[in-house]
């Protein structure tokens, strides 16, 4: 089966959870052995792992016919693709995209990030998708998140192949209900045009059904999984006098950082052998620094800033508790990562991952008393820490992308009538 996937990010250079999930899912699906995956993204950097799928940069797909010598193409794109592929793709140009600014190769220079002219980038991505859809052979189209829905729709219109859209988040999650109408319309159009919708949790599934008015029979939940952490044992927890409770993520409204500060305040009223860490950055960071000071706990509340790569796991492993009080979290991979290094977790019931995790403490995001009580329990009662740690590692190691991939495959088979 040949799958044409549209994504936005792919490791190692990622900005959010979308890239991680795209990687995990495609890798898990590749284990099935009979899938041929082409993953299109706006701007690959060339160092992606292509051992199990083919990465195609939209910025290497010509959308405007320009004459170029083979040598020039080789010189320009040699690191990414064979010149023949460029010329072959060029034959797929059926529409006039000269209104779009293109480079010497007739390709669009995507930023591959989330720039201010995101809407323009999304529609340019659509143009690149059309060329591909005319030229490439595939059985099914799979679009990851709203940025790629228009590309998916266009590819479907051209090829007549079924479109699966994968909802990693909706604008309702990102905006606490104050949706951006443009984003909403793109999301809604994608869902309406799709043949099937995959959501990362039942929470998101409900949003899709209720807020985007989709037929429930068309929406299936496939929970995310987590890549095994090969060097999990290399992260250690050092002996220290104080216990550490960590929040890690974007410090924005969606993540509920203020509830963490309030819970910390409660805990510190009863005990002083605990320190709180809010790692990450975001538009609410300064507010949180103020709030911590106002509550008089600034001496016990720390802001180490944005952490990346190995540093993330190091911070998690050093912590006694990882907390994610998200107001709305479609899935939320980070508690699973904390569990991989053996750190007990507290998560909000409004997080999609709460649907599949047992060995974690679940509280409502606004219930700071319950949150404080859970923190207190883990730092004060050793059996609580031990049990969450050991059972948590075991649990998370059994959540596999391969299984998620099988569920996606079943959806493909169903749409194609293959059994």
């Amino acid at each position: 089966m040949k799958v044409l996937m549209f994504g936005w990010e792919f490791p190692p250079h990622i900005l959010g959870g979308l890239g991680t999930a795209s990687y995990g899912l495609t890798k898990g699906m590749a284990e099935q052995g009979d899938l041929e995956l082409t993953f299109v993204m706006p701007k690959p950097s060339g160092d992606e792992d292509q051992s199990f799928l083919k990465i195609l940069g939209a910025n290497h797909i010509p959308v405007v016919w320009k004459e170029n010598s083979r040598e020039h193409v080789e010189y320009r794109l040699g690191n990414f693709m064979h010149p023949d592929e460029y010329f072959w793709l060029r034959n797929g140009i059926k529409y006039d995209f000269t209104r779009i600014y293109t480079n010497d190769l007739g390709c669009i220079d995507f930023s591959g990030r989330y720039p201010d002219n995101l809407m323009e980038e999304i529609s340019n991505y659509e143009a690149a998708a059309s060329v591909l859809a005319h030229q490439q052979a595939f059985d099914i189209i799979h679009s990851h998140d709203w940025l790629t829905y228009p590309a998916g729709i266009f590819a479907k219109q051209i090829s007549g192949k079924p479109l699966v859209i994968h909802v990693h988040a909706t604008d309702f999650d990102r905006s606490r209900g104050k949706v951006n109408p443009t984003v909403y319309s793109i999301e809604k159009r994608g869902m309406d045009a799709s043949d099937h919708i995959i959501t990362v949790s039942n929470l998101t599934r409900n949003t899709v059904i209720e807020k985007y008015h989709q037929d429930p029979s068309k929406v299936t939940t496939v929970h995310n999984a987590v890549e095994p952490l090969a060097d999990a044992d290399s992260y250690t927890k050092s002996e220290r006098k104080d216990k550490i409770v960590t929040f890690l993520g974007r410090i924005t409204m969606q993540k509920g950082p203020e509830y963490f500060v309030e819970a910390a305040h409660r805990v510190l009223q009863k005990t002083d052998s605990v320190r709180f860490v809010m790692a990450g950055s975001g538009d609410m960071m300064n507010d949180m620094i103020h709030l911590a000071a106002e509550r008089g706990i600034a001496d016990r509340f720390h802001f180490p800033g944005f952490l990346k790569g190995r540093k993330v796991y190091e911070m998690l492993a050093e912590s006694d508790v990882y907390i994610m009080p998200s107001v709305s979290e479609p899935f939320g991979i980070s508690p699973l990562e904390a569990m991989q290094v053996g750190t007990p977790t507290i998560i909000s019931k409004q997080s999609g991952c709460a649907e599949i995790l047992t060995h974690t403490i679940k509280t409502d995001y606004w219930d700071i008393d319950a949150m404080a009580n859970a923190i207190y329990g883990i730092v004060k009662y050793p059996a609580m820490y031990k049990s969450l740690r050991e059972e948590g590692i075991y649990e998370v190691n059994n959540i596999k992308w391969y299984d998620a991939g099988l569920k996606v495959r079943a959806i493909y088979n169903h749409l194609l009538g293959w059994h």
Partner: protein
């Protein structure tokens, strides 16, 4: 002649209230009275009262031939006395028929038999006292909470004066042996063991109203037919279960009462009688001793202690609790002693199980653990306030011994004094 021994258990834990860490040291009341009352009322109205009525009818219409035994934990008795005293009255009436027997257990439905021998002895005694004061007769038969039994526990039960004990049909104890005989303790054969027939018991308790069950619908005729069809040498059929099976687990509309009422008729038709545990205990004919090296229980597939002691959470809670047993028993502080009993209720530990938390009012074992530990932290502080931990257990033990010895000595001296006085009186009288 074959006999059926019916025995029903009543126990419900007192609900603990939501107790955050902020309350530690501030609030010494741990119970959720509202939900405890609600739960007691529901069970009383839906199960205990109507079923007692059915049983009374059955006794009357069979001229006292139908018999059954009950055990009601001390914790449950307290709830009934407070919230549903009419249930106690109804049991008193049953007691007066002479066809009903009340069995002793641990007062707090506790794991003291495993964790604290002195506490176990004490709880056997205070429960028997309570039963005697309520129903007029001191029990001679003992059933441990959850039918927990081992050779070691058996010895303690015999030493406490009970001659008969009820145990579970656990594979690792019974092997190929049938539960339908009377057995004895492995090496102290004065203690008789009655073994639950778990298949027949669970056909009613677990499966009665389950339509996907092989024998659904279960009728009294079918049920008695199985007993009648058993080999002639098998004389005793111990059908034991939680009393809430009637009317609560299996609703009246499931036909459970019709089933129950039809039992005596079909039994008599097949020449099968009914017998009380204490009557079985008096029978001379026994099939031999049973060895139970490790404690068994009537829960789960393994029939062991795993539902209460299987994970780290449970270990910590239990060890922290029983660590202070000796200190608490020294105290004369009545509220403290009462809390000590209630906090031993074994359901609280089962709610911390990842697999067996049936009936839990918590969302997860972790929540159950944290709530219990917060309460326990407050309780332990109260114990500490009376008996500082700076005094070691050994030192305390020595002190305790001196005190009890002193009492004994004083008593002995007094006796001597009285004797002498009497002598003196006699001499001077002469």
């Amino acid at each position: 002649m074959k006999n059926i021994c019916f025995y029903f258990q009543i126990h419900q834990p007192i609900r603990l209230k939501k107790y955050g860490f902020f309350e530690i040291g501030q609030d010494h009341y741990y119970y959720d009275d509202y939900h405890t009352e609600e739960q007691t009322r529901i069970l009383s109205e839906q199960s205990y009262l109507p079923t007692n009525k059915v049983i009374a009818d059955m006794i009357r219409s069979s001229n006292g031939k139908f018999k059954c035994a009950f055990s009601i934990s001390g914790v449950a008795l307290e709830q009934l006395e407070l919230y549903a005293p009419e249930v106690i009255d109804s049991f008193r009436e049953l007691a007066q028929t002479g066809s009903v027997e009340f069995i002793a257990e641990t007062y707090a439905h506790s794991l003291s038999s495993v964790y604290d021998a002195d506490e176990f002895e004490l709880q056997m005694k205070i429960h028997a006292d309570k039963i005697e004061s309520l129903f007029g007769k001191r029990p001679s038969v003992f059933r441990n909470a959850e039918l927990i039994y081992s050779d070691e526990i058996g010895e303690k039960i015999l030493d406490a004066g009970f001659k008969t004990v009820l145990i579970e049909e656990a594979k690792h104890v019974m092997g190929w042996k049938s539960p339908n005989y009377i057995y004895t303790h492995a090496y102290r054969n004065r203690l008789k063991l009655l073994v639950r027939n778990s298949k027949l018991s669970e056909d009613i308790f677990l499966r009665f109203s389950n339509p996907s069950c092989e024998h659904y619908p279960l009728t009294a005729e079918k049920f008695i037919g199985w007993i009648a069809a058993a080999p002639e040498e098998e004389r005793v059929f111990n059908i034991w279960m939680g009393y809430e099976a009637f009317g609560y687990l299996h609703r009246p509309e499931s036909g459970i009462y019709d089933f129950l009422k039809a039992i005596p008729y079909h039994a008599m038709e097949q020449q099968i009688g009914f017998v009380l545990p204490s009557e079985l205990g008096k029978q001379k004919e026994v099939a031999g001793g049973l060895t139970a090296l490790y404690p068994t229980s009537w829960w789960g597939h393994e029939k062991d202690l795993a539902p209460w002691t299987g994970n780290d959470l449970q270990h910590e809670a239990l060890s922290k609790l029983y660590e202070v047993g000796m200190r608490v028993r020294l105290s004369k502080d009545r509220p403290l002693l009462h809390d000590w009993l209630l906090l031993q209720t074994n359901d609280y530990f089962r709610y911390m199980s990842h697999k067996e938390a049936y009936g839990s009012n918590y969302e997860s074992p972790y929540e159950a653990f944290v709530n219990y530990m917060n309460i326990l932290a407050d309780f332990l502080d109260r114990v500490k306030a009376q008996y500082p931990t700076s005094i070691g257990d050994e030192e305390l033990n020595a002190l305790l011994q001196t005190i009890t010895q002193q009492d004994k000595e004083i008593a002995a001296r007094e006796q001597e004094l009285n004797k002498l006085k009497n002598k003196l009186d006699k001499i001077s009288g002469k």
